[in-house]
């Protein structure tokens, strides 16, 4: 049998989905569009941001929405020195686990920072909103570092 020639072809696979949000995710995304951040209070009193539809402990539906702050504290981060093509930020950036003021769990989004050296765990960060908001997670363009001492 003859050795096979390597025949290959690049292609792009597209899943052009439109998704229903349901009331809980819809509340959060509507809030983002309007420049607000909502969490939901769980059975143990913790405020979950972004809101979970069902309680992570009891599985009960959650409806007790709470508006939380737009600043928070950096719980963990990693430094992406070479952003991938799919990433939202194309200059070096950090992924951040941020606990917003008034929330009891962190959320993950991008953090814009001049360098890895500028980032420290515990730093105060703030939401940087997208110029045009439409009710999507990317209405939060990213987090940015707040000046001043870490909390």
């Amino acid at each position: 049998m003859a050795a096979a020639e390597l025949l290959s072809q690049e292609f792009e696979l597209g899943f052009t989905y439109t998704r229903s949000t349901g009331p809980v995710v819809g509340k959060f995304l509507t809030g983002l569009r309007d420049g607000k951040v909502y969490g939901v209070r769980g059975s143990d009193g913790r405020v979950l941001v972004p809101p979970a539809e069902y309680d992570p402990v009891t599985a009960a539906p959650l409806t007790d929405f709470v508006e939380v702050g737009q600043e928070g504290r950096l719980l963990s981060w990693c430094w992406v020195s070479e952003p991938r093509e799919a990433h939202l930020l194309q200059q070096p950036f950090a992924w951040a686990m941020v606990q917003l003021d008034g929330a009891d769990v962190p959320m993950i989004h991008c953090l814009e920072a001049p360098s890895a050296e500028a980032v420290t765990t515990g730093a105060r960060v703030s939401i940087s909103w997208a110029d045009e908001r439409q009710g999507f997670i990317t209405d939060i363009r990213c987090f940015t570092l707040l000046q001043g001492a870490a909390s």
Partner: protein, 171 residues
Amino acid sequence: MSEPQADVTVVKSPVYLKYRFTAGSAPARFLGRLKEGVLTGQRCPRCSNVYIPARGSCPACGVPTEKEVVLSDKGTVQSFTIVSIPIPGNPIEPPYIVANIVPDGANISFIHLLSECVNEEVHIGQRVQALWKPAAEWGYSMDNIRYFRPLDEPDVAVDRIGKLPVTGLES
């Protein structure tokens, strides 16, 4: 101020992923010969069935297939349909015929176009032959064959379809 906007109930969340598809060893060998204007299949070492296009295994026996065999560009209509509605993105004007064609020397059919025929007279068992594009236009594609067209030969009985040798009805 504009009116308050309605709550968000749906989101558009398209996902696009980039890949580099590779054809596989057996398909690559098939496509390589196709570029030379030759149809090939692979014979199962256990049941002797010949598959086109081969994927490197006999799906009936579950054993690897490695031996290439050259097939004829003459074949037999195993089944067909007359397409009467336009398909988005397909430049072919309906009505046209899409047929399962078993090339002589193979035991299973592939799908291709059937043309230069009276649509209402197309039938199972009909003998057909490939009309190739000019050799300069050949690539790694079944499009090298523009379509199949009727051949002036006797029909093949249904129980003989998919069992003709590479020499067709001549033997």
